[in-house]
């Protein structure tokens, strides 16, 4: 597809040939994930998390479908049906724990994958569309995970649903109708549980669809790489298969080992004790917090404690929380530096490692803590930096920064020898 030197698919069996004429699906797979996709030879391990996220999505879909066979989306029995899965269904405990922990691993992979893109400038031309679709995937995944967490109908499920849908109330005029539409009522109840289950089943398949677009868009320019320099010739690339399938393969094994350690030996480590108490609208938990992967956004939401003129603090928080993610959509046009890789941008690199990363870490920590001092003040500083980083620092940097000289080619960067154009 992308480069003229890409290997061509030649069906080796008669059946393959027959198939290729009728429906060239094997050819399609060959060209997108097989030997027909030439990928830069210098991709580092940060490039492994895309396929890893995809595999954890598959884990979620498979375990989810099995759970859905035994789960009952009814507010009276949802909690007990999950306990029935844990106690009576053969290996049910394994599917349930795999699904609950799989969500965390999926988000871990997604975050590292996004972080890779942020550092190596993968969002820049010509890859803007890949990046935009990626942000859509992330938004869909957040909605999926939020609604999934409501399904076991424990205390944190219920109160999490209440707090998050309650955010819409802050929006003038349309807010309350939106909230009622989401919940199918005025507070989380059976109607909300049913629509959340329906959507929780639907959205992962929409994610699959957007992932297909994401990869399609990827294969037009091809993968970025740690130098950010364009691929210039065949020596710069290796066929995806077997090179990157082998590399992704062994790190998948590593990831599954970590996953198994969580699943089998500490399955509730990332969960909340409160969610083993059935939902009770009359008793509010002491600290209502979402799952860890939402903590940074939750910290931004709670950082806004003072009204601005006529805008109430709660609305500001909601706007800021949504804006914090929505800025990613504009990133390709905010950061105009022609150099992609952070490795060759001395100032960008400093702001990334000493600004953005600590800022997200602080937000993550504060988002999981009680909403009390000093955590609120810490999240205020971090929130200020977060917006400054994307909306002020990056645009200014791209005008003022003097990048370091780039290698002439990927091959030169790797071997020290110039790329012979013809090979």
């Amino acid at each position: 597809m992308s480069f003229p030197w890409a290997k061509h698919y030649t069906p080796s069996t008669e059946f393959g040939q027959w198939m290729d004429e009728k429906l060239p699906l094997p050819r399609f797979v060959y060209n997108s994930l097989g030997a027909g996709y030439p990928a830069p030879r210098n991709l580092n391990y940060m490039w492994n998390f895309g396929s890893l996220a995809g595999i954890f999505l598959v884990v979620q879909i498979v375990t989810g479908i099995i759970l859905a066979m035994h789960y009952a989306a009814n507010a009276d029995i949802a909690f007990d049906s999950v306990e029935h899965i844990m106690r009576d269904v053969n290996s049910g405990w394994m599917f349930r724990y795999a699904h609950a922990n799989g969500a965390s691993f999926f988000f871990m992979a997604i975050y590292l994958h996004i972080g890779r893109g942020l550092y190596y400038g993968s969002y820049k031309a010509p890859r803007e569309m890949i990046w935009l679709l990626g942000v859509v995937i992330y938004l869909l995944a957040m909605a999926t995970a939020f609604m999934g967490y409501v399904l076991p109908w424990g205390q944190m499920s219920f109160w999490g649903a209440k707090v998050i849908t309650g955010l819409f109330e802050a929006i003038p005029l349309v807010g309350t109708p939106i909230q009622e539409l989401l919940l199918g009522g005025f507070a989380p109840d059976n109607a909300a549980l049913n629509r959340f289950f329906s959507l929780h089943y639907l959205l992962p398949f929409m994610i699959v669809g957007v992932i297909i677009l994401h990869i399609w868009a990827l294969h037009i320019p091809g993968s970025n790489n740690p130098t950010g320099v364009d691929v210039k010739g065949p020596q710069d690339t290796v066929p995806f298969h077997p090179y990157y399938t082998a590399k992704d393969g062994w790190t998948l094994g590593l990831a599954l080992i970590f996953f198994s350690i969580m699943l089998f030996f500490m399955p509730n480590f990332l969960g909340h004790a409160e969610n083993y108490i059935p939902a009770n609208p009359l008793s509010t938990p002491a600290n209502i917090v979402p799952e860890w992967y939402f903590w940074p956004w939750y910290a931004i939401l709670r950082a806004f404690t003072v009204d601005f003129l006529f805008i109430p603090a709660k609305l500001l928080g909601v706007l800021a929380m949504f804006s914090a993610i929505l800025v990613w959509f504009f990133l390709p046009w905010l950061d105009k530096s022609p150099v992609r890789s952070g490795g060759y941008r001395p100032l960008f690199k400093k702001f990334f490692w000493f600004g953005l990363i600590p800022c997200i870490a602080v937000l993550g920590y504060c988002g999981g803590a009680h909403a009390e001092e000093p955590f609120v003040m810490m999240s205020q500083i971090a929130t200020a930096y977060y917006f400054a980083h994307f909306l002020i620092i990056l645009p200014l940097l791209s005008s003022f920064e003097k990048p370091e000289p780039l290698p002439n080619s990927i091959t030169e960067a790797v071997t020290g020898k110039p790329l012979e154009q013809a090979s």
Binding site: R87, P242, A246, G253, I257, Y276
Partner: protein, 284 residues
């Protein structure tokens, strides 16, 4: 355009955050927050370790049986165990007949009404029944317990921060309120001081009040500490009956994955050998 709009929005959010921070910091310095009383007197759970802890953990069935005895003779008067069925007790090492006998002593309400008296009738439980609840409903449970409803214990070790050590600490942690405890945090009528409980006073009186509340058939001395440990161990089992299966399967799966990963790593090295060799030349 994007950049100009972006900067304006960025300036707004950043600026307002900084203003908010300065206001908050000023408040924090001039008017430092006082720690709630609960924080000063509340204690973290004591150290307590169980045979089921850790990746190699297994249940001590003798202990689970003792713990079940404590539940049956003490806690069951107030606390339900609604997710556990009598048949599950076979996992504690009781045989089928013993389980049937245990169940038979536990009357379970039936939907029928006694035609002679009009009262709700009941029948002996069967092995397949879940443990019957001690109170007909939450109103009855609250009325009998000073308006506090005794929570179901099936999942309690997973439903509380601190898990089983917390339950153990709670059961052994009752004491007289310290003299310096402010009036507002002293136990009101029907409440009992226990520094392990998050808000210090709870409606349950010390359930294991003294030694030898139960007499163990295996000869273990029924000290308060022993009974508290045993019932906590039993509640680990009731919350996570598949714990042993989980640990065992975990080792098998991880063992398999280790081998598969090593093989995958070796093939990765072989496949990349030529590309890596070129890189080596650069370093040399």
């Amino acid at each position: 355009m994007v950049r100009i709009f972006g900067m304006l929005i960025g300036l707004f959010f950043t600026g307002w955050m900084l203003v908010t921070f300065v206001l908050g910091a000023n408040e924090y310095v001039t008017n430092p927050p006082v720690k709630a009383v609960e924080y000063q007197f509340h204690l973290e759970p004591k150290e307590a370790s169980f045979k089921s802890d850790g990746p190699l953990g297994k249940f001590d069935r003798q202990q689970l049986q003792r713990g079940f005895q404590v539940y049956k003779e003490v806690c069951a008067a107030c606390h339900s165990l609604r997710l556990v069925a009598f048949r599950n007790l076979e996992e504690l090492g009781y045989n089928e007949d013993e389980v049937k006998a245990i169940a038979a002593n536990w009357p379970i309400p039936t939907p029928d009404i006694d035609p002679a008296t009009g009262e709700m009738s009941s029948r002996p439980s069967l092995a397949a029944d879940k443990f019957p609840k001690p109170f007909a409903n939450d109103v009855a449970a609250g009325a009998a317990n000073n308006n506090a409803i005794p929570p179901d214990l099936s999942l309690i070790t997973k439903a509380r921060h601190g898990g089983a050590p917390y339950i153990y600490s709670l059961l052994t942690g009752y004491q007289d309120p310290p003299a310096e405890l402010p009036e507002s945090s002293r136990p009101g009528p029907g409440l009992h001081y226990n520094p392990y409980f998050p808000n210090l006073n709870l409606a349950m009186a010390s359930p294991i009040a003294g030694d030898d509340m139960v007499s163990y058939s295996d000869g273990t001395a029924a000290t308060v500490d022993q009974m508290a440990m045993d019932v906590s161990a039993f509640l680990i089992w009731s919350a996570e009956p598949k714990l042993e299966e989980r640990h065992q399967l975990g080792w098998a799966v991880i063992g398999f994955l280790l081998i598969a990963t090593i093989l995958a790593y070796l093939s990765f090295r072989t496949i990349w050998a030529d590309v890596k060799a070129e890189k080596k030349k650069k370093e040399a």
